[in-house]
């Protein structure tokens, strides 16, 4: 018996919930594809400055009269009508996309978990008020707000110290997306906190005298995380898409290298230089698809019962 236990311990070092989920996730082909795509985007974003053949702001092709050139040995994906190297801007665009996605969802998760957590744990009137507040945010058309605020804010800051902040427009978009994408997370957090507040192990923790902070952070939050992570992964894709749309409408950050911006600059030349539109469009497609597949795979991995 003793030997048996010893070998058992040596062979499997107690797989936790995360590791078990990973085992399940690994068997999910779509999820693994999503993970692969997301990894690819992250790697590209990290190594962009080292592998990009041109600076993203390099318009020298224009001077050489080499704008709108189809792909060749120098410009792997051709050049667009401004003389930018499409491939380099594609690589740098991954950084912006990830920055927007992660930034917006970090803000959204913080707000969402705090508000939803309080609502679910406190219950009663607090819950009611906070959830009505969340619904108020859900019915506001995010897009119009972003367009209005970006434009107005761009005018307001002229002449103040804020003008010197690099990529202020992009930051505005990120913050606004974060401030409007939190209600779904808050709803999920509320549901999970509500469910776990009455779980027996939480009661057991109360029984031994655990302070409320520990109950929330140590007992409830870790058990609520899986569902929240799925929403966040889904939200990253959504945020990237939203930023692209804003940029495509011409309200993006002129200084940022974003895929939406490239689409906005080049969509009129779709017939003349399709590569300049297809490349960022394809990259966007892969990224958003990647995050969505990842989220889908995570759902299955964390909640295997849903599948049955």
């Amino acid at each position: 018996m003793a030997i048996e236990t010893a070998t058992l311990n040596a062979v499997q070092r107690a797989p936790g919930v995360w590791r078990q989920s990973w085992y399940r996730f690994r068997r999910n082909r779509a999820g693994m594809l999503g993970l692969g795509l997301v990894t690819l985007v992250v790697v590209v974003a990290l190594i962009a400055p080292f592998v990009a053949p041109f600076e993203p702001t390099d318009q020298s092709a224009m001077l050489r009269g080499a704008a709108r050139r189809p792909p060749d040995a120098i410009h792997w994906l051709g050049t667009d009508r401004n003389g930018y190297d499409v491939f380099s801007r594609l690589l740098y665009g991954a950084r912006t996309a990830l920055l927007v996605g992660l930034g917006a969802m970090t803000i959204a998760s913080l707000i969402g978990v705090i508000i939803g957590g309080i609502a679910g744990y406190a219950g009663g009137m607090t819950d009611e008020l906070l959830m009505r507040f969340a619904e108020f945010f859900m019915v506001i058309p995010v897009f119009i707000v972003i367009l209005a605020v970006v434009r107005l804010f761009g005018i307001v800051v002229v002449g103040t110290w804020m003008e010197d902040i690099p990529n202020l427009n992009l930051l505005t978009i990120i913050v606004l997306l974060g401030c409007f994408e939190w209600p779904p997370i808050a709803r999920m957090a509320r549901a999970e906190f509500l469910r776990l507040r009455n779980a027996e192990f939480v009661e057991a923790a109360v029984c031994i005298g655990t302070p409320r902070r520990d109950i929330l952070v140590r007992h409830i939050l870790p058990n609520a995380l899986p569902s929240l992570i799925v929403l966040v992964a889904l939200g990253i894709g959504g945020a990237i898409l939203a930023e692209t749309m804003v940029s495509f409408l011409g309200f993006g950050d002129p200084k940022a290298v974003s895929w939406g911006q490239s689409l906005y600059f080049n969509y009129e030349a779709l017939k003349v230089a399709p590569w300049a539109v297809l490349a960022p469009g394809g990259a966007l497609f892969c990224t958003v698809l990647g995050f969505n597949l990842l989220a889908d795979g995570l759902t299955d991995a964390f909640n295997p019962r849903l599948r049955q």
Partner: protein, 335 residues
């Protein structure tokens, strides 16, 4: 006579019920209604009753996991219901609970050592004290320190319940509420856990409030038994007296309903019919009268008091004295 460890007086736990779109108060569920009981140091008091009668709510209210709506709970001389945050935390060192479902009552994200060690950390022990305590407790409940780094899902049901018991015993409490601690386990494992609980009681001088619906188990483990019906105690007696001569018709029916291999035990009482009435709208008079074969007009009109018929034997029935008088005759007839 020593002072009781736990003294519950007139404890009420009422839940308001709201209905309709305007959330109007539609009534009150009296889950626990004017319950009084005492637990002596080192004693096991069993709380028996069918599901929904409020026995778990009572157990939770005693530990203030559920705020009571009225009454008094005195534990080790302190008035539990009026303790400040800090004093309550100190009191929680001395009273614990073992839960029914060993799957739901252990946090799946924490390892065994973390689950047991939490109490040590909260109550300001050093890391060394905690580690020593965890190892000691794991050995005490028959698991051994090798299991410290495992997650709950790696344990079997019985082992998990041992883990739950170890958690409840951290920092040496004097009083443990066992809320149907074995009813979720296999019969073969039940015996092990019950033996463990009794062995621990002997070694550590624990007092138990043992909530159960298994009468055989109660007969085996309890010193005294309290029978609950619809939020009230209908009979309290020393275990031997209760099982030998139950006086309340409900207790008799319960005993008759539980299968026995002892032919003398097969009481002639009819098995009770019908459902437990809704605690939202309890019957007038004696709560048991709609199901009682011996109900009279007095039973329908007035609630009987919990009257002492023998030392330590209290019954809430108008006709208890008659049953008492009839008991020896019945015993003769049966025996």
């Amino acid at each position: 006579m020593t002072a009781p460890l736990l003294e519950v007086e007139d404890l009420d736990v009422h839940f308001p019920v709201f209905r309709g779109p305007l959330r109007r108060r539609a009534g009150t569920v009296r889950a626990v209604d004017g319950v009084s009981l005492r637990v002596m140091p080192g004693e096991t008091l069993a709380l028996v009753g069918e599901s929904g009668c409020g026995k778990s709510t009572l157990g939770r209210a005693v530990l203030r996991l559920q705020e009571p709506s009225g009454g008094q709970v005195r534990f080790e001389g302190q008035d539990l219901l009026h303790l400040g945050k800090r004093d309550l935390k100190a009191a929680r060192r001395r009273m614990r609970m073992v839960f029914q479902d060993p799957h739901a009552s252990l946090n799946p994200r924490l390892r065994a050592a973390e689950i047991i060690g939490e109490a040590f950390t909260i109550h300001g022990c050093t890391r060394a004290e905690r580690d020593a305590g965890v190892a000691e407790l794991l050995t005490l409940v028959g698991l051994g320190p090798d299991f410290a780094q495992r997650f709950p899902h790696e344990f079997s049901g019985g082992q998990r319940q041992r883990l739950g018991i170890a958690r409840a015993l951290a920092l040496h409490p004097s009083f443990v509420v066992c809320d149907e601690p074995v009813s979720a386990l296999d019969v073969s494992v039940q015996a092990q856990i019950v033996n463990l609980l009794m062995e621990l009681q002997e070694r550590l001088g624990l007092s138990y409030l043992f909530i159960s619906h298994d009468l055989h188990l109660v007969e085996f483990i309890a010193d005294r038994v309290a029978v609950m019906y619809l939020g009230r105690i209908v009979e309290t007696a020393p275990a031997a007296a209760l099982f030998a001569g139950p006086l309340h018709p409900y207790t008799r029916a319960l005993l008759a309903a539980s299968p026995s291999i002892d032919p003398d035990r097969r009481a002639a009482d009819a098995v009770i019919e019908g459902e437990l009435p809704s605690p939202l709208n309890p019957p007038s008079g004696c709560a048991f009268h709609p199901r009682c074969p011996h109900a009279t007009d007095q039973c329908r009109a007035e609630m009987p008091p919990l009257a002492a018929l023998a030392t330590g034997h209290d019954v809430r029935c108008w006709h208890a004295a008659d049953w008492m008088a009839a008991a020896p005759a019945r015993a003769e007839a049966l025996g």
